[in-house]
């Protein structure tokens, strides 16, 4: 399923958090949304999973305006892993994962055999099957993140949006989750902070700065030293990954500079 953002603008209290954002994610494509803090990445995603209504513009699913769909119907197409990592009540892991079926269910009917198998498979894929009967509130942040990811898979969406899915995850589970995204065949729009993981995971990257799209393209086109300097304000060297050939960034810390003090100010060049 194709996901298109068309002229997406979100204004809150007169300030544009996202400005005229146009972005296409082809069917089965993994697109990474990167940018510094406060650049509007999460805001754009929230419009896709409909937690936020855009001020202007639209989110299209296979050309159809998602705002016209009932919430339930769009939840059958789009699943989200949000930054909400908690829970008010101590559901078991199995119960939490099963909640992913709710847009497909009527009333309080129990899960069908197929749905239970689906849940079991998702829990296995995210390595939480052994936690099935534990309460989610007793888990670590990373374990809970994986439970919520399993819940999103069980939703059987055709579009998956993820807001910093690698939060709280250890290296192994980061790699496993991103590999899963790559191999899922789903249309994926994912916000990632780690540019190297983004380059390795995504078919294309889109860069946001102050709510506007400043670059979009395959990782080699986008991740240039100039762009990283301009957008993130850090010096980086781009090298090919020795095995995969993906662009990888090597950062250099800012050269040691003395803490400016009023006395030394006059002597600066």
């Amino acid at each position: 399923m194709r996901l298109q953002l068309r002229g997406l603008t979100v204004e809150v209290a007169g300030r544009a958090l996202v400005r005229e954002l146009d972005l296409d994610v082809g069917s089965g494509e993994v697109v990474g949304l990167v940018g510094p803090n406060g650049s509007g990445k999460s805001t754009a995603l929230r419009c896709v999973y409909r937690a936020l209504r855009p001020t202007h513009g639209a989110v299209l699913l296979d050309g159809e305006d998602s705002a016209r769909l009932r919430l339930r119907d769009s939840a059958r197409r789009v699943a989200a892993l949000t930054q909400e990592n908690g829970a008010d009540l101590d559901f078991t892991v199995a119960e939490t994962v099963a909640l992913g079926r709710s847009p497909h269910q009527q009333g309080n009917q129990p899960l069908t055999t197929r749905e239970r198998e689906l849940c079991a498979r998702a829990m296995h894929q995210l390595d939480v099957a052994h936690l099935a009967h534990r309460g989610v509130l007793s888990l670590s942040g990373g374990e809970r993140q994986r439970v919520l990811a399993a819940r999103a898979l069980v939703q059987e969406p055709r579009v998956l949006v993820l807001d910093e899915p690698t939060n709280h995850l250890d290296v192994r589970h980061q790699i496993e989750l991103l590999s899963l995204l790559r191999g899922s065949g789903l249309t994926v729009l994912v916000v990632l902070h780690d540019l190297n993981l983004a380059a390795a995971t995504c078919n294309r990257l889109a860069v946001l700065l102050e709510g506007s799209l400043v670059a979009v393209g395959d990782p080699w086109e986008v991740l240039t030293a100039e762009l990283v300097q301009r957008v993130f304000g850090v010096a980086a060297t781009v090298v090919p990954h020795p095995l995969t050939g993906d662009p990888q960034l090597l950062y250099s810390l800012s050269p040691a500079s003395p803490v400016p003090s009023p006395a030394s100010e006059g002597s600066l060049p």
Partner: protein, 365 residues
Amino acid sequence: MTAPHGIDAAAAAPARPAAGPTSVGLVVAATGLFLVLLASIVVAIGLGPAVISPGETARYLWAALSGGRISASEVPAYQIIWQVRTPRVLLAAAVGAGLGVVGVAVQAMVRNALADPFVLGVSSGASVGAVTVIVFGVLAGLGIHAVSIGAFLGAALASVLVYAASVTRAGITPLRLVLTGIALSFGFQAVMSVLIYLAPDGEATSTVLFWTMGSFGAATWQSLPVVAAVVVLGAVVLRRYGRSLDAMALGDETAVSLGVDTTAVRTALFVLTSLMTGAMVAVSGAIGFVGLVMPHLVRLVVGAGHAKVLVVTPLVGAVFMVWVDLLSRTVVAPRELPLGAITALVGVPVFVVLMRRRGYLFGGR
């Protein structure tokens, strides 16, 4: 209490009943609790200053329901059973069930473990309504129901005010709702204090005591049907929101991504719980503690899933309230202990013990 999935209470780890096919266990648990409720009702109707055995009680009840015959010498006992105690015990069951189920819904609606049916200002609004009727004699044309109707109108007015004050363009948000409810409760209490201060007689004061501590002493066959119908229908409708409440416990954004219109659900729940609470407070006053603690107690045993909690809580609440009312009218008979005092005295220790024994976690742990 019947544990639905055969849980070993001694389980050290916070292990939970399996979440798989819940329906079978749930049906067994609900049936068991329903039978316990029926038995409790029959026993409680038989007990009082004049003790009547459960068998006799059942026979009188059957006679009343089926239009059967009893001998003339049995008429006084029959009158006590059917005219005095039966409506009272049934009212206790209905209100206990209602407070429990509304407590579950309100805690989920405002996403707060400390919420209870009265947190949104309904009970203090009802008290203002009732006191207004007594002090100013308004609604006098409605006869003996004037105070109840006044209380219900007060509760409804309070709900409307709380809703109007907390609604924004983004709908009603949980924290705003709780804060508005608590703030307006203080306002209503102030209004009530002024009314009582200005009241010419002492009747207003005793009415206020009635409303703050709760009692089923005023139960009659006339007052029972409305509140019973509201509670039963309300509980059935609330159950339909089970899965939405589950989703909302994961956060509003996640709930929306699961297809739950959180604003619409919150508005519907607000209307429903206000209506149920108003109907209950109007006939029995504000009985504290049940709506706060019963939901937690049930979650401790059956887990957090609302499909189960919304069925088990009203049944447990009803059983609990029937026995509390029995204690209230028998321990220091002929005087009655306030229900609120008993619910707290019995429930608090049970709750603390259970909470300490099992690793119970709610929200921020």
